[in-house]
Structure formats: structure tokens, C-alpha cells
């Protein structure tokens, strides 16, 4: 018995004495922190390498799409003052959410072949998707600021508060990514299904249209039960209204983000042991 205890401490891996999967995953992730950086680098480099404009696309792409939407919808919602900025402030946040969650699914599928051969903390795929998304999001704030200047919207000190909504949105997106990528391991068609859902979800959230056009009967379902409503609202209040979000919005947003991340992290790491079994 004594001999056993002595031996145990010398082993680097013992399948019998494992920590809670959620804790183990976190500790391993710290050891593999350079991997996350490399995965982000790979995404950024691979995406822009063969284009002449390179990283500029990060700014041009949302700009182009937003221009189209702004032209189409501004005639419809001319009662909204500074509609372009109203639209953009919500759209940058939504684009980040949709892109990162979709990328997380793609990455876990890519990683699948590796995961059967070598040990990797698997949350690194979702986390690096968020990292890449954050770079894109921050870069898309530059054209947004330019548009605000051009449209004559005042840029206030509240803009400096923007890291907080970004952080909360990233936390929420990570939680959702982890849940989705777990499902994607079991069901390859999750990606197709999710793309439809995310599209519908966008139009159900007040992004292209003002909140005020929603009839009272829909408000409860589309606003108060929609986590993205609070997170988008933080962006909008900070950028479009140039004010700090209310304490209430902040609290709800923080709560939603943290709970989603906790659920996603625990669910993912508990299921992660099974991934390699799904050959």
C-alpha cells in the first residue's frame, strides 16, 4: 500500500486519480496557452494570406455588408435618428456572436482527427475562435467610429466603456460555442441547423429594426427572454446613445454570460471524455 502511494506521486498521469473534468480542463489549458495563440494566428493568417488587401478585409467586409443593409433598411426606418449607427452598433456585436459560434463548430470538426491521436485540451478550439472573433470585432470598431463621425453622431466618453460589453458578449459566446461544439461531435448536421437558427435569431432580436415597433404582446418573448437582447443593448447604449448602460441591463447581462459559460464549460468537459470514443 505504502509502495503504491509512493509510486502514484511519481506518475504524470493516473486515470484513477483525476480531478473534476471542468477543473482538469482549466489547468491543462494554462499549460497549453501557447496553443490558443497559435490557433488564432493560424486563423488570421490563413484567412487573409492569399488576398491582396489582407487584414483590411476585416474592416471592409462588415463595412460592405452594413452599407447594403443600411441602404435597404434606412428607408424603412427613417424615424430612427442616425439609423446607420443604430444598425451598426447592434450588427458588429451580432456578427461577432454568429461568427465565433459557427467557427467553434468548424474547429472542433477539424480537431476531431487530431483528438483521436494526441491529447489536447479541447476547449482550446472554442477559445481560439473567440480570440479570432475579438480581433475582428476590435478592428471593425475602427470603420464604425469613422461612420459615426461621417454621420455626425456624437462620440462620447461612454465609448471607452465598450470593453465591458465586449467581454460579456465574448463570455456568452464562449458558453454557447462549447455547447454547440459538444453537440457537433455527436451530430454533424448541427452546423447547418445552427446557421438557420442564428439567422432567425438575428431577425427576432431588434438589430435592424427599432425596439419600439414590436407589439406589446411580443415584447416578453422577443426581448425579456432573449439573452442576446441584453448583450446587444449594452453595445447600443454605449455606442449609439453614448451613455453607460443601466445597472439593471448590466446585471442581467453579466448573469446571463456567466451562467451560460458555466453551463457550457461543465457540459463540454464532462462530455469531452467521450469524444475519442466516437470514431
Amino acid at each position: 500500500m505504502k509502495d503504491n502511494l509512493f509510486l502514484q506521486s511519481e506518475f504524470t498521469y493516473d486515470s484513477k486519480y483525476r480531478k473534476h473534468p471542468a477543473v482538469e480542463e482549466l489547468l491543462d489549458l494554462v499549460m497549453y496557452r501557447d496553443l490558443i495563440q497559435q490557433l488564432i494566428r493560424r486563423d488570421i493568417i490563413a484567412r487573409y494570406k492569399r488576398s491582396t488587401l489582407g487584414i483590411l478585409w476585416t474592416m471592409l467586409q462588415p463595412l460592405g455588408m452594413m452599407a447594403v443593409m443600411a441602404i435597404v433598411f434606412s428607408a424603412l426606418f427613417h424615424q430612427v435618428e442616425g439609423y446607420v449607427v443604430y444598425l451598426l452598433s447592434g450588427l458588429v456585436a451580432w456578427t461577432f456572436f454568429a461568427q465565433t459560434t459557427t467557427a467553434a463548430i468548424t474547429h472542433i470538426v477539424w480537431g476531431g482527427t487530431l483528438l483521436k491521436r494526441i491529447y489536447i485540451p479541447m476547449t482550446s478550439f472554442s477559445i481560439s475562435s473567440i480570440g479570432t472573433g475579438l480581433i475582428n470585432l476590435v478592428l471593425s470598431l475602427i470603420p464604425l467610429l469613422l461612420i459615426m463621425l461621417a454621420a455626425g453622431r456624437p462620440i462620447t466618453w461612454a465609448f471607452l466603456f465598450i470593453p465591458i460589453p465586449i467581454l460579456l458578449l465574448a463570455t456568452f459566446a464562449l458558453g454557447v460555442s462549447l455547447i454547440l461544439s459538444t453537440l457537433a461531435v455527436y451530430f454533424p448536421d448541427i452546423k447547418e441547423m445552427y446557421q438557420i437558427i442564428v439567422q432567425a435569431w438575428m431577425y427576432l432580436t431588434p438589430i435592424v429594426y427599432p425596439e419600439s415597433i414590436l407589439p406589446d404582446s411580443y415584447r416578453f418573448w422577443l426581448l425579456y427572454l432573449n439573452p442576446m437582447y441584453y448583450l446587444i443593448k449594452m453595445f447600443r447604449v454605449t455606442i449609439y446613445d453614448g451613455k453607460l448602460p443601466s445597472v439593471e441591463t448590466m446585471l442581467v447581462g453579466t448573469l446571463i454570460s456567466l451562467v451560460t459559460l458555466a453551463i457550457g464549460w461543465i457540459y463540454f468537459s464532462k462530455k469531452a471524455d467521450e469524444f475519442a470514443y466516437l470514431a
Binding site: Y13, L114, R117, A279
Partner: protein
């Protein structure tokens, strides 16, 4: 000699749905109808194995005997449903051709990506960068995107990255045919160096001659169980006899 791998009563059982549910929709429909039935498949059954430091262990067995599953258990990829696995030191499996590479990145960028996937820090990789490039014989190609490489070049780069750090336990799964004769000789030299420095090597193959020439000890796996464990010549003889019948 210290044991570096200890498996005790290890059982790996795959639980697969009777029909493969390709899609989520199908699964939900079948689940609601309570139609999901599972079939169990035991890939490893009560495996007991101890491997000591510096041993070169060959694993033989037919296709589907559980060889790859055994390696997955040892490299921490698969957690057994029963039993206990203990490992001392760093396990380094040699990845199959091009796994973990990105075609658009240059060779240099891929070294950093692949090294990070194997758990090395950026600093560790930077220290070994020149050595990796030199061993892989890539020369000026190192700054070209990987999609311009030949299969041989990719194989050399992969091998070079995986073996530049001396692993405590090296896992070779049927991949010794890397590159041309000259490069294969270099690989052999590197393997022998590892062996002399005390690396434990696990070599899996269904061709017995590979095992015979390299290993000091062999294990014969059949239907997820260890049929024989002992000196290479004995085990190989038993394995050969059984395949003739």
C-alpha cells in the same frame, strides 16, 4: 528498471447506437419513438501490462485486435471505462501524414502550430526551430506555404517536429516508411539515440518483421485480449502459427 506504463484490468468498451444516426433530426425522431438501441463492442478486455523504462515493445495483432485502442489509452486520448492507467513522463505519438498542418501556412508557421498542438511552448519551439528545419531538409522551402510541398516533404517535417524533443514514451503506429532511403536512415539513427537515452518505444504493426528487427519484447493482441507477452521471437512465432491456421 522503473515501470513507465502500468495498465491494470483496463477495459475499453464502445457503445454505439444500433443504427448510425447521421443527423440530429433522425436521432430526435428515433429517440422520441424510444427506438435508440445500443450495441456494445469491447475493444480491450481486462488488459494488464507493464512497460519499463527503455524497453522497446512491439504490439502485433490482426486488424481490429485493439492495437490502436491500446495506444490511445496510453496516450491519454481514451479514458478506459474500467481499470487504471498510469503513465510516467511525456508521451509523444507520431501523427499521421499532415495531421495538424495547415496548407496555407508556411513550413515555419506550421512548425509553431504543430509544436503547440504537441504541447510545446513558443519558446521551446523557437529554440529548436533551426534543428527542425535542418533535419527535415527543407532548405529554402521553409518559408513557402505547405500546399506547395511534396508528400515526402510534409512527412519529413512532421517526423522532424515530433522527434526533435526526446520523448519519455514514443508511440509509432505503422509509420516507419517516411521519405527516401537516406531519410529513413536518419530516422533510424534518431530512434537509436532515443533508445540509448532511455526512451521507451511502443511500436505497433501488423507486419511481424518490423517488430522482429527492432523490439526486445512483444505483445500479441487478439480480440481485445493479450494472447501472449514475452520475448519477441516467442511471441512472433505464436502469432505466425495462429495466422497460418
Amino acid at each position: 528498471m522503473k515501470p513507465v506504463i502500468i495498465l491494470e484490468n483496463v477495459v475499453v468498451r464502445y457503445r454505439k447506437p444500433d443504427e448510425r444516426f447521421g443527423t440530429f433530426k433522425e436521432y430526435v425522431i428515433q429517440f422520441v419513438r424510444r427506438n435508440v438501441r445500443y450495441r456494445e463492442f469491447t475493444a480491450l478486455n481486462q488488459i494488464n501490462l507493464q512497460v519499463h523504462e527503455g524497453e522497446i515493445l512491439g504490439v502485433v495483432g490482426r486488424n481490429g485486435a485493439g492495437k490502436s485502442t491500446l495506444l490511445k489509452v496510453i496516450s491519454r486520448v481514451l479514458i478506459p471505462v474500467e481499470g487504471r492507467v498510469r503513465i510516467r513522463g511525456r508521451v509523444s505519438p507520431l501523427l499521421e501524414l499532415g495531421a495538424g498542418f495547415h496548407p496555407e501556412l508556411t513550413g515555419r508557421e506550421n512548425i509553431f502550430l504543430n509544436g503547440a498542438l504537441l504541447g510545446h511552448s513558443r519558446r521551446e519551439i523557437r529554440e529548436r526551430l533551426d534543428e527542425i528545419v535542418e533535419f527535415a531538409e527543407l532548405g529554402a522551402f521553409i518559408d513557402s506555404p505547405l500546399r506547395t510541398y511534396s508528400t515526402g516533404m510534409i512527412a519529413r517535417l512532421g517526423f522532424s517536429i515530433a522527434t526533435t524533443w526526446k520523448p519519455d514514451i514514443l508511440i509509432l503506429d505503422e509509420i516507419l516508411a517516411v521519405g527516401d532511403e537516406n531519410f529513413r536512415q536518419k530516422c533510424g539513427v534518431r530512434m537509436n539515440k532515443f533508445k540509448d537515452e532511455g526512451t521507451t518505444i511502443l511500436l505497433v504493426s501488423h507486419t511481424a518483421s518490423n517488430i522482429e528487427s527492432m523490439c526486445t519484447r512483444a505483445v500479441w493482441l487478439d480480440h481485445g485480449e493479450i494472447k501472449a507477452d514475452g520475448s519477441t521471437s516467442e511471441v512472433i512465432a505464436l502469432y505466425r502459427n495462429s495466422s497460418q491456421n
